[in-house]
Structures are given as structure tokens and as C-alpha cells.
Symmetry: none
Amino acid sequence: MTLIPHRTVASQLAVHLRAELKKGTWRGWLPSERVLSRTLQASRNTVRAALEQLKADGLIEPVRGLGNRVVGTAKPAIVEHQTRTVGVLIPEPIGHLRPLIALWIDELKDLLIEEGYRLRIHEGRQCYQTNPARALDRLIGQHAHSAWVVTLSSEAMQRWFARRNTPCLVAGSTYPDIALPHYDLDYRAICRHAAGILLRAGHRHLALLNRESRRAGDVDSERGFVEGVSRSPHRDATAVIAYHRDDVDSVARALRTLFDQKNPPTALVVSNSYAYLSTASVLAQRGLRVPQDISLISRDDDPFLASLVPEPARYRVDPHSFAKKIVGSLLQMLNRSTSLRSPAPLLPKFAAGGSTAPRQ
Amino acid sequence: MTLIPHRTVASQLAVHLRAELKKGTWRGWLPSERVLSRTLQASRNTVRAALEQLKADGLIEPVRGLGNRVVGTAKPAIVEHQTRTVGVLIPEPIGHLRPLIALWIDELKDLLIEEGYRLRIHEGRQCYQTNPARALDRLIGQHAHSAWVVTLSSEAMQRWFARRNTPCLVAGSTYPDIALPHYDLDYRAICRHAAGILLRAGHRHLALLNRESRRAGDVDSERGFVEGVSRSPHRDATAVIAYHRDDVDSVARALRTLFDQKNPPTALVVSNSYAYLSTASVLAQRGLRVPQDISLISRDDDPFLASLVPEPARYRVDPHSFAKKIVGSLLQMLNRSTSLRSPAPLLPKFAAGGSTAPRQ
DNA sequence: GGGCAGTGGATCTATTATTGAACCGCCAAC
DNA sequence: GTTGGCGGTTCAATAATAGATCCACTGCCC
């Protein structure tokens, strides 16, 4: 599999070269890249990719016009015997997270074990507060992981990690001007699409039920949702956004404010599958029926949604492929093969379900 | 460095598979190509390319419709328990299981790694059919695990394992005359308790929505439920049991037969949290309100239930302590220190929630 | 006997790694 | 200064791989 770096030719060459260096085959300067390319039976590009890894480890130092100088031989031993663990930062006990998140973290654990890494889960509620610096300092200082995977991260957390050179992968979206490697769903496109679906079904008063905390993904959602409505040909279409926290009551409150107004929405996009459950049951208590009285779309997926009647229209994600992308980026980062580009965000497939209907 | 492409993934896999074959990891038949592709993290095409090399070496012999047969019957290597792995047998992909089950399997994985064991998850739908002997023969024969953990097991499966001396722990209840070590919740006590709660609230027509498959835990539930009603001082109390499968439609059908009869129940115990979701939403569609029109209790717990309005009355379980019990029994079994007694079944705490009300 | 789920066999497309070849600016030596 | 070799960069073509979809075959269950 090409995503796993050590299976690529470049990484195999890097391993080989590291061994040769350690043996002391070359002192002073490496053979030129063109020569290496010939002796190692690989193209110069591939050799260069391998050399890049050695450079990142501080073993060699390329000098323009001269060659690759051998620098230090002490380092690699330390690199080898490093802990080889990866930390995952989550805000709550894993049992409280959404099942889909638990699933991909689980997959990530398996994939990393296969690669010789152990995954350590850190439930650090303090790191998710408004000023996380102290908590993060302590946590990251205490645990010498090879890399960190940060889930559900706040802007302050992302800024903190961006300032350090701790290897860090954001599982989720990043805020506009933060240059951290990240991987997430394309929430902007999702919500734009959801708005389009509802508008085409004849709805004109749409609402987005969004998390109050405004994580990057939520901001993107909002942006996409508003775009979807404002760029539509329907000039009479309106978009309202209501905010909720993670508890049931706040969802109920948000719904009350939405539906107690004069011109209540006829279609709702819910940004979170737990909130979808709350929404569906609160609407049922108010005597509103899905989809006859109101159409619902869930932005997030979770296995339990399949047990609802009607089945929620939602954007389906495969936790396995999500975990694979994450682990791919992670290993790339751990092997320092190249400077990491964030993979393109994932655009999940829309499953129509039965929770939307044309406006009556 | 040879010119033979040692560097392609396919060739690396071939090397790896050759080594595994020599070790005697698989006897008789190789795992199916699709399974190999998953465990080896490579596409089936690549796996097939690797298998082709083994075939050319005469190590395996593919049989259409059956699998890849191991030919070179060198010798049953004596490396029996060097593997130090534990197999978990589940009927569906882990993402389809209830989150709570996924959670304790996850915990189990962590705890076992700490003990030096690897957990291998086997999704064997065939092993859950009416006659699982063949599928089990093949699965258990193929994988030389130190022990097996069997979840959601049928009676036939338990009998199969009881006849062997394969170390096996049943995660769940056992059928009456089967002497396998097991650990589960005390479903009999739970359902007896649930019936008592509803009777004390004035309900007289109770129903239990139970799984059709009648696993041991479901049988216990039924027994406890009937006991709870029949032993009550209320002579006019009746207990009905309706059966459903694991799909939403069958739950809807079961509910229809319950509520279309002349004297419908006013209180319902649902044996499964997914079925609880289906039940709640079907009732909402019929215009019945919880708890005003009907009281509900969920026998099983799952995190997502907390997002429902009203919050379901249910029996709460801590997946961590459940996993610890399982791993405790398992390690006792693996170390063969003493003959294993099954730990006492767990009686979880009742959380009242808001889904029950006195009969109007 | 038919339906069904699982198997290897085969094929297709999209993505990615790798190749092989340009060209650039830099360096030291002639 | 010129020259040839060096690393740095880019590019298009190619090979490997992933991932999906069919097929024919097998055995089990109904």
C-alpha cells in the first residue's frame, strides 16, 4: 500500500542508506545523487526522497554545487529507540465521543500497531478550555510521543501547536491562517449541498442547527450553508442559524427559539448526530412530524442513525478510509520523508433517507 | 541488491506470506483473499499478485469457490503458542455493533496489549448461522490463537466450543447446560426489576420487545420479565412478548402487532438500544407520546440514549469495568493457573430517566 | 431445487509512486 | 572565464496500487 511510507521504494532506500551510514561506508561526502541513483537502481527523484529523510534526521547536509555532506552519526540511535508512541488528544472519555470517532480512533490504533507504534489516548478536558496553554504544556511535556493527533480542537489549541514544532496532525478542520497538517470532511461543501437539496425540494425557510463552540468545521459548515442559500436562484430563500451546546436542553432551547418565531423554518440541517437525536425527539414531543411537517438532514453520520424512522438523510463516512488517511499522513510525518501536505478534504456520499420531503 | 523487484508491495507480501506459511500460521486453507487484503493493508489485486508467486512456488493451490489451499504440508510447526494472540468472534463489522460492545472490545484490546497479547477481530457471519460447525472448524483451525472470546453467541456455537478444549470465553450469557466460562449482565434480574418498576407505576399490560434469535441473554430476559409479572401481587397484570430481528422494519412490525390489538400494552421494555431508537421513532410516527401515552424502559445501555428526549430509563453499564472482568477471566484462562470459574453476572444500576410515568 | 453468502478469477478506473529527462543556479578547478 | 559536476526544481510518461464491479463456482440453508 502506497500510503504506508516504509513500503515505498524511497523509504526502503532511506533505511538502507541509514544502515550504510552507520556502518561508516562513506566518510565526509556521500556519492553524488546521480551515482547513487545508478548503484541503487532507482531514479534520482526517488533517491532524493530518501536523502530528504536522512536530511530531516540530521544525518546529512546537502551543499549546493558540492554534494551531500555526512554530518553526525550519533543521532540515529536516539531516533531509533524513541518511544514510538502516538498520542491522541480527545476532550471526553472515548465512550462519550460519537461512535464514528471512536471507530476511526480504533482503526488508527490497529493500523499504527501494525507499523510498530502504540496509540495512547489522552482525555484532556483542560486542553479544550479557552486558554489551554498551561494544560497543553504539561501534557505534551509529560508524554514524549513521536507525534500527536488532535481531535475536535479549538482555535487556541491549534495556535498553540502551530507555534511549536511538536509533530501534530489535526483530525478535523483548521482555522483559516493556521498551517497545521490536517484531515477532515469537507463541511463547507456538505452544507452547501444540503442547502441545495432542501431548496430544490421547495423549502424557503432553512435553518442550520450548529454547535455554539464554533470549531473550524462548524465555521466551515455555516459558511457553506449560507453560500448554498445566497447563491441559489431563489431570492426569497432565507437561512437562519441556531446554536446549541452539547447537552440535550440547549438543543431543545435552540429549537424553541426557532419554532416559536412568526415564520418558522420548514427544513433543518443538524450538524451533529447526537443533536439529531435530540432534535427528532423534541420535535416529536411538540407534535411535529418528520418529514411531513419538517425536513431534517444530518450533517454527520453515525451507525445508530440507521435505526431511526424515518431514516435520516445524511452524509455517510467510512471510518476505515478516514483512519487510513489519517494514518497515512501520520506516518508520512513520522518518517519525515517530505514536508507534509494536508490531503484533500473528504466529500462523503449523500444518503437520501426518508427525513426530507417536498414542502407542502 | 538484486534486480528482482523486491521493492514492490506484492513481492514484500509474498516474502511475508512465505514466512507465515513456514511458521505454520495457517493450516489447511489460507484466509480468503479479501480478509488478507484487509489484514495486510493492501488491495486485493496486490494480495493476488503475491499469492500468484506462492502458487508458482507450489506452496498453495487456489480452488475456485473455496479458497487457497496450503499444499506444502511441511510440518505442523511446534511454535503453537508463540503467537500470543487472542481472537474475538463477532457477527458483524465492528461499526455495526452497538457502541458499548465496540467500547469494551476496544478496552480489551488495550489491556491485552499491556499483557503482551494481540487481539484479532474476526467478523464471521457464517459462524452465527444455524449450523456453524463448518465455519467454526475452518476459522478456529486456521488461526492458532491462544484463546477465543465469543460475543453474541448462538446455542450451536456454544455447544461447538464446549465440545472442544479450545480455550474460549463467552462474552455474554451461556445456555443452561453449557459449561463454558462466561461473563455477562444479569439480564434475568434486570428484566424482573424492570417489570417491577412498571407494575409499581400502575401499569398492568406490559410488553417485552425481544430479539427473535433468542440468544441466552434474551432467554434470561424473558424469564426474568415473566417472573417479575407473575410473582407480583397484581393478579390482573399481563405480560406479552413480541419478537423482532435486527432491522428497523421488523421492529415496526412487532410494534404494529402489539398496538393494533384490542388491549394494547401501556408499558414496554425494549431489549436493545438500537431497537429502542426504532421504537421511539415509530411510536412518534403513530402519534403516541413517551411517557404520557406509553412508558418505555431500555434493557441495554448505550451512550447515544442520553441524547433522547425524554431520556430513556435504562440499566447503565461501565464498559471499562466490563472489559476488565473479561480480560481478568481471559488472563486466568491463558495462564491456566486454576480452573476458571465464571465471575458473577453484573447487575447494572437503574437510571430512571424520564421515559416512564404512572399509568394515567 | 432455489436462494444466498462466500469464494477465487477477471477487469476496469482513479490515484499514486516512480521513472527519466529536462533545465536552473551554484561550486571548484582548469 | 569557461567548464563539468553538483544539488534544486519541474515535467510528462509509465508502472504499481487501490478500490470497485462483475463473473462462475461452491456449500449451506430453506
